[in-house]
Symmetry: C2
Subunit: 541 residues, 2 copies
Amino acid sequence: MTEPRRDTNWWGWGDPMRRTELDATALGVLRERIGELEPWPLAARIEDFELPAARPLPRAAVDAVGAEAVFDSKEDRLRHARGSGYVDLARMRSGRLENAPDAVLVPADAAAVGRLIDACAAHGVAVVPFGGGTSVVGGVEPLRGPHEALISLDLTALREVVVDETSLTARLGAGLRGPEAEAALGAQGLTLGHFPQSFEYATIGGFAATRSAGQASSGYGRFDSLVSSVRLLAPAGNLRTLETPHTAAGPALRDLVIGSEGTLGVIPDVTVRVRPAPPQRRYEAWMAESFEAGREIARVLAQGPGLPTVIRVSDEEETVGSLALSGPRGAAGKAFGAYLKARRRAGGALMIVGYEGTEEALTRRRALTVRALRAGGAVYLGRAGGRSWEHGRYGGPYQRDLLMGMGAMVETLETSHTWTRLGELHRAVGAAIAGTLDGEGTPGLVFCHLSHAYADGASLYFTFISRARRGAELEQWTAVKRAASEAIVAGGATITHHHAVGRDHAPYMEAEVGETGLDVLRAVKERLDPTGIMNPGKLLP
Amino acid sequence: MTEPRRDTNWWGWGDPMRRTELDATALGVLRERIGELEPWPLAARIEDFELPAARPLPRAAVDAVGAEAVFDSKEDRLRHARGSGYVDLARMRSGRLENAPDAVLVPADAAAVGRLIDACAAHGVAVVPFGGGTSVVGGVEPLRGPHEALISLDLTALREVVVDETSLTARLGAGLRGPEAEAALGAQGLTLGHFPQSFEYATIGGFAATRSAGQASSGYGRFDSLVSSVRLLAPAGNLRTLETPHTAAGPALRDLVIGSEGTLGVIPDVTVRVRPAPPQRRYEAWMAESFEAGREIARVLAQGPGLPTVIRVSDEEETVGSLALSGPRGAAGKAFGAYLKARRRAGGALMIVGYEGTEEALTRRRALTVRALRAGGAVYLGRAGGRSWEHGRYGGPYQRDLLMGMGAMVETLETSHTWTRLGELHRAVGAAIAGTLDGEGTPGLVFCHLSHAYADGASLYFTFISRARRGAELEQWTAVKRAASEAIVAGGATITHHHAVGRDHAPYMEAEVGETGLDVLRAVKERLDPTGIMNPGKLLP
């Protein structure tokens, strides 16, 4: 029997023992830019938390997995009632949730998942597939729709790893967290190479269901490009795609399952392409003249000799903010500032560039990259900045918890567009966020970076921080999110490059795929999930 | 007004003025291996050809495009009545076709395509989208299904090229032939890099509709990976995907349209990623110890330092056959044979390896590739063999016409699988083909090569040549095709790596995608094409 995981911070992110802090310099900058904050404490402990009463489950659902695999304590229901977006976390601070699963069920294997889905379909029980609970777009919110009851289908027990060392593929159970998958592969000298910010807690099934992209996607590819084949257990039947490297046999069903966000069925496992673990890694920092100049370097690399494993370009605001919040301090900080001024790169755009591979491949790749960096006017800042990024690469969510506790709204959103349209999109979305924050009376910091580059374009990742409008936190968030989303849609960009759709982006799906596109997605949904029990209220408006 | 193209050989492949020949050595080998052939002449000229009577079109269909865009001469109907597979060509030799379009309509632009589809949907007229007519799986066979009339919707007029030089994308009209697209891109120093054997006559729309892969797909990527966005004009509405480099907004509708083979609607244009045209190209020949050793070299490259632009490994049979049919002759041939013997590579596996790019990139790529080739025991044969491959790379279909005229059955089929399963698949499919040919009393040559390599596996491409069983040509072909397809399915491989499904592979789609997969594809079809007018009888069984 496998229990649901209870090792994370129940009201926030990750390791409950990990502490993160801001020093006086950082606090000074924050105060200067967003004003005084009023602490935002948790309103309740687990035992006092208000959850809706659990409704009873049909016997068949319990029988499908066995009574020992059904968990309905307040803690388990609470832990499965949310993802990790600002809305979820703000609600957690309120001490009260309107929606929670009636129970958490942990099927022991794919066969039990299949039985459970069948039972839920037969008895009209809504099913929210649950991996790591790291969705930042409301992807696991327990919305029961027209159904009587709702369960959280926790995939924790599905953690098998089967490696084919000749073909370099691995079938990975949906419930494996990122580090678990990497550890199993690493024991055979292999890596998947998928490292999103949520890596430490997100799961393989979630990566597939949300079409995830990692920080090293320039080098290893997005998760969807790593998937060789996939299975789907749906109310109306099961799908599996062949484990062949490619097929031209019609439309790609694989790409219907990937990105389906639990609305069509459950992905019990995924077969992915793996590769030898890189013996060497090197991350370094550079300073471009401007965000535009940094973007241009990324474009030249993506369209020419190829990209390094990691490439990230912060805009000028994010560069200033990053240095203020976590840059070098004291004498080192002064020397760094003097260096930038001497090289005329004060006010520039910070770039993180990373290389992974054999010594030989790394050296070759670095030589090509450095040539483009220098030709584009970037100045080398050394490896300390790269190590600092590496050290903090999974730390964002901890910092968000800290800032929220201090009274801040902290949120991120992302999009992508062609190189031709990227500059204008950056200005428009940044202005929409900043303008709305101003309008709310909570002027804020608006950061942006490019972190996924392609031959034809790149992603833009925005972070904004402002004072939370206490008592109206969700209204404030909604206003900013809407303004940013409308600017994205107006620019012809995608509503999400890698956060997925979930609850938050569903209203923009018609702009994304058009009326006929929605019709097609609905047709697929109706065929696979005729009674609509799978993850209601997500993906489709 | 645009007329349908009439520049190709009406009964066979390509340029009607191009002649291809076999010398005495080649003829001797053929006779020795497959026996004496009885010439197979054409039974009729165009004017004597028997076609079913054309049924009248509804007024609305004619009005949608204008009367001047409707062509119903015997020649135009005949030219649009077939693709380029063995079945099609054998029927052409018979002087009689059971199916032909009632007319060929050539809409002037995408708007006219839309109007035509609407008119056909309203009046129950079947529509076969027609690009280059190069399908080798019956993809354009005029099967009217339950409908009264059938038109061939010729996309020749849709040949616009719109390049975005910053993002390196190009919107290409569906009716552009490969060389037309390359010429337009080449004028701006760019290339698409998609060179399937059908390149000279196949069209952009066809590449997208069939999920095509080119001979240089190792370097440039398959066509599906080059597509940035796509449009579909369907009876129930129009689809378009955003021109962004990537999106995580749900299932990928792009990958439903790609590979839809005209069964969902018409693809009027495709936006593709392009890149700088390579200033240098170098193709060379190597000889591996065996097919297995050559495959292993391809695997090492695909899983390690990366692939060259072109990699092709012939099995031992194909190597012997290629050298016999078009290898060096006379003194050069003797010297070549002696060289192979001295290097202990007589009886080995011929490899073609190609590099394209800047001088620097080519040199770098070649150094990595040569290292793997030598480590894998391959022996360098020089550039003459590479040039010979380059010279003949689009010549296969001409040679097939020649051999069919001499009385041979010549057909190709292909599949793909993981590296782990590739050796067994090669043996099983080869044995199925050879055994069935023997059983038909027409023992033949069975060649195979690997031509598309991936980190996790590769494609296998089989060619077989035997005496045609005159009077029972299609029965003979059906027996061999069925045996090969069943061996592929039994091996868990895909029924097609890049030829698509069409009419010939539709019976194997359930093995490919399962019952639920078929259900999903049917649901999409029913939503987009509720009256089933789009390319009946293809893709779905």
